[in-house]
Amino acid sequence: MALLRCRGLRKEFGGHAVLDHLDLTVAEHQVVALIGASGSGKSTLLRCVNLLEELDDGTIELDGEDISDPRVDPDRVRRRIGMVFQAYNLFPHLSVLDNITLAPRRVHRRGRAEAEAQARELLDRVGLGAKADAYPDRLSGGQQQRVAIVRALANSPRLMLLDEVTSALDPELVGEVLAMIRDLKADGMTMVLATHEMGFAREVADEVCFLDAGRVIESGPPEQVLGEPTQPRTRQFLRRIIEAGRL
């Protein structure tokens, strides 16, 4: 059963179509990696799924419900979706613990003690238990991004959207964030991740989608899309990536 089904998505910015009749289906427990050049529509797709952008056409279904219907309450939809951003977007005025417990307490109306206990447990699991009372600006980029992932997980989402979560990190910090995503996959989390880490996409994704000019041009198992691409645009993109030493 498909958890997420996008059909004919279109999004324009200033007369330019960033998404152009894009189709994407994600099954439960599946990990889908979106690859493609900057501006190919990866981030816009994720933002549309989280209803942060208004669609210009097409439908998005989550658990069989049409969430692109304007009568749907977007806040209720977002509670079921966790999103992690490239620039972490932690709240600088709140401690790590308060960042994580904000949504459980305010959105899900849990008690402070219960929310904090859950947050501490999640932090312990990713080795950040000692940082619970620190403020985000005292953490390394990798630690901040792991806190951002924990913050999204504290809502117990059905689906996680990861938008180039390692692109802003120093190379030696990428590994700790990728390890966390690997663990999420092992736990059966459904994820859509936009990434430039081809090696990681190959390892963790069940399906890789190559986006170009707002469409999915090629999709399939990672070995096929990354190993034997059939589309010339995909080949050209991968060749450039290899030349840049990123594969």
Binding site: D75, R76, G82, F85, N89, A103, R106, R138
Partner: protein, 281 residues
């Protein structure tokens, strides 16, 4: 930080010695230039042909002593009015700023009213607002009219609320949209996002200019005396009229500065802390 067992090199020792000599030299230069300027000022002022007359009519210690109690009791009015008006104007400004950010067609009249308010009261001179409220409103002869002092306070709150609303709005708009996206993606409603994510960051960021406006308000609260209540400046004016001596004004001026010093010190401290927080980490 150097390690405890670090032995500075020959070059570092020479540099340190040079910097120490430079520091001593700088202090000496500053001291002598200050002394020179001070001496010049004293000679210029006290050597002026009219100095004796000015000293008698502006700096008479006896008249200062006599005027102090009435000026002080006037100042007490300023302090009380300032406290009430500052709280009122900050609250009004915050509410107006938040109203201006509301989206959706339902809120169009609210947005329009809030925008109209900030345009009107930032443009209207305070004195005119004061006259309209303290002289015009009582003229309506309505039942239960508040005293002139309260009406004057309302005029101050309305005028300063307009300025403070714009400061708050600048703060709200300075919070990056990625913070809103993060909050909304967690399922927080627009109101929760404002309350828990945007406003705390906005208020922290604009605290220095807000306090600066409170310092300005401190000087303007005295204008209620135009409608009758006797504040420090009005008390000084009355004392001056009785003695034909301007010393009471100087007394009032000194008291105002003394009153402003703690506020300005707090403003500087908050500014410094905000700057540190932004650059630190």
């Amino acid at each position: 930080m150097t390690l405890l067992d670090h032995v500075p090199s020959e070059a570092q020792l020479r540099r340190s010695a040079y910097r120490r000599r430079q520091t001593v030299y700088s202090v000496l230069v500053a001291a002598s230039s200050t002394a020179a300027l001070g001496t010049l000022l004293v000679i210029a002022v006290t050597g002026a042909p009219g100095w004796d007359r000015v000293r008698r009519s502006f700096l008479d210690p006896e008249i200062a002593r006599d005027a102090l109690p009435t000026v002080l009791s006037g100042l007490w009015l300023n302090v009380r009015l300032l406290a009430c008006c500052a709280v009122g104007a900050l609250l009004l400004g915050l509410v107006i700023a938040v109203l201006r950010t509301l989206r959706g067609p339902v809120f169009f009249p609210v947005r329009a009213l809030a925008a109209g308010y900030t345009y009107t009261f930032r443009g209207l001179p305070l004195i005119i607002v004061l006259y309209l409220l303290t002289l015009g409103v009582p003229g309506l002869r309505l039942q239960g009219m508040p005293p002139v002092l309260v009406l004057g306070g309302i005029a101050l709150v309305l005028t300063y609320g307009g300025y403070l609303a714009e400061v708050f709005r600048a703060g709200i708009e300075s919070v990056h949209s990625s913070q809103l996206a993060a909050a909304r993606s967690l399922g927080l409603t627009y109101r929760q996002t404002m309350r828990h994510v945007v406003l705390p960051q906005a208020v922290r960021r604009v605290a220095p200019p807000l306090l600066n406006d409170v310092v300005a308000l401190q000087k303007d609260v005295g204008l209620v005396s135009l409608a009758g209540p006797i504040d420090a400046v009005r008390a000084a004016q009355i004392a001056t009229a009785q003695t034909f001596n301007y010393t009471p004004y100087v007394v009032a001026g000194v008291l105002f500065v003394l009153l402003a010093i703690p506020l300005i010190a707090v403003t500087d401290w908050v500014t410094l802390r905000a700057a540190r927080r932004q650059s630190g980490g």
